[in-house]
Symmetry: C2
Subunit: 260 residues, 2 copies
Amino acid sequence: MDGSRASQASSSELLNPLMYVRCHGCPLRTKPAFHDKTQDEIAVIDQMKSDHLRVSAGTEFIHPEQTDAELYTLFSGWAFRYKELADGRRQILNFSLPGDLIGMQAALLDKSLYGAVALTDAELCVVPRRRLFKLFEHAPGAAYELTWLGAREEALVDENLLTAGRRNAMERVAAMVAALYKRAEQLDLVQDGVMDFPLTQQHIADALGLSLVHTNKTLARLRAQGMFRIADGKLALLNPRAVARLAQYFEKEPARRPII
Amino acid sequence: MDGSRASQASSSELLNPLMYVRCHGCPLRTKPAFHDKTQDEIAVIDQMKSDHLRVSAGTEFIHPEQTDAELYTLFSGWAFRYKELADGRRQILNFSLPGDLIGMQAALLDKSLYGAVALTDAELCVVPRRRLFKLFEHAPGAAYELTWLGAREEALVDENLLTAGRRNAMERVAAMVAALYKRAEQLDLVQDGVMDFPLTQQHIADALGLSLVHTNKTLARLRAQGMFRIADGKLALLNPRAVARLAQYFEKEPARRPII
DNA sequence: CGATGGTTTGATGCTGTTCAATTAGAGTGG
DNA sequence: CCACTCTAATTGAACAGCATCAAACCATCG
C-alpha cells in the first residue's frame, strides 16, 4: 500500500551525496526546463534555504493534518502527494519531479490537507514556512515565481482530475505515461526513449482511481499493443503518437519555468 | 451541455446593479468568512482593480487556450472552471462562490488550460494580469494573500480529485453537497438549512465524473433516504450528519480567509 | 528457506454507462 | 390562449467496464 521500491535517483551528476548543496552551484537549475537567474536572485534563494534534506524511499515528509509543514523544492528523486478517506482508500494527487515545489498549501494554510511521500530516495531543499512572508516582503521576484509554481502544480492536479473523472482505464494509463514522459523529457531524464519509472502498479492505480487488478490488466493490454513498456523500474515509450492519441493528451509543458 | 439556468444572485444586499463597486464599501468583505483589512490594504486592492464586470448566466469569461486572461474575484453569483477532452467529454474542476479567486493559472501561465463559466448572473472584480507583478513588488501583503487563495483553490481541486478517484456515486454526491453547504454557510448564504443551488444535474454529473442518467438515479436514492432535497434551484440539507458520514467528509474550511 | 512485496491471472457480479423514450415547465410566436 | 420548441428531469432496459475475491507466481532478502 505504500510505495517503497527504492529506485536510486541517477546520481551520476549530483554532487557528493553528503554535501550541503548551495544554490549557486546547483546542477538542477542549469537544465533546459528552467529560467536563467542572476547571481543576485540565486543568492536570495540560497538565503531562504534553511536545509538540504535527504530522505529514503517511502519517507512521508509532510503528514496529513500537520500544522508546521515546511515548503520544499524537490532536488532529486520522485515524490507524490496524496489524500485518503477515513476507511483507507487512497488517492494520489500528483507526482513531483526534480525542480517541483511541494507543500505550498501545507505551508500557507493552517494545516496540511494531504500527505507527501518520497517515492525514491530523494533530496529536498527546505524553505521554512516562517520565512515565507519575509520572502514576499523582500524578494517579490522570488515570491512571484513561487506563486507561479503553485499555479503550475494546480494545473497538474486539474489534469489529473480530468483523467480520473472522464477518461476510461486505457486512456488514464496512456495519459499518465504521456504526461510523465513529457515532464521527464524537459529535465533531461529521458535517453533513447527510456526513463526511470519508480512507480509500482499500486501507485499507478492510486493515482488513476483504478483498482490494482484492473490496472494490471490494462497495462497488459497496452503492452500487447506495443505502445510502451514498463519493466525493471524503467519506462520505454515506443509509440508516443499512439499514446497521445489514445489519451487525447496534447498539452505541452511551458518551455521554461521558474525554480526556487 | 452548458448551464444556463439563471438563478439570480440574491441581490438584496448588493448595491445598485449599475454602479461600479469600489473596494472600500465592499459588502462582501465584511462577511464572517473573511479577514479584516485596514483601509490602507483596501486602498491597494482598489487601485489594482480595473473593472467591475457583470456577466449573465452561461457566459464563458475565461476560454481554454486564451493567452490574455485576467485575474478575477467573484463578487456575486456562482461560476465554475472546467476542462474538456477533444471529443467533448467535460470535467468541471471546481465551483466558485463569492470571494473566490478565479484565474490564477490563466493569468500567470502563458495560456489558460481551462475554461471558466458563470453559472448564474454574476459580478466579477477584475485585476489585470499586467498589474500582477507590480502587485508583488508594491503590495507584498496582498501578493501573499493572492498566493494563499491560489493554494486554497488547489485544495478544492485536490478534494474533488479524491472524490472522483475514490468515492462511489452516492458518496460523490454527498461529498459535493457537504462541501458546497459548508462553503455557503461561511458566506451567510444559508438560511434555515436552505441555500441557493443553481446547478443542473448535468453540472453535478460533469463535476463528479458520472453520467447524467446515473447522477439522476443517485439523487433519487439519496432523496428517498431523506438526506437532502434539491428542488427549484434550492438545496435543503436535512441530515448533515448522515451526509458527512456517507461522504466521509469532515474537512472544515478555515475560519477566516483573505479576500482580494 | 521462509517471508515479503510486487505482478499476474481467472471467475463472478455489481456499479455505472449507454440507448431510448417519456414527462414537465418555460419561453415564443401566431 | 394554444401549438411549438427547447431544456431539464425522469425512468426502464441492456450491457460492459471495472471492482472484488482468490490464488498463484516471481524476485529479492535476511
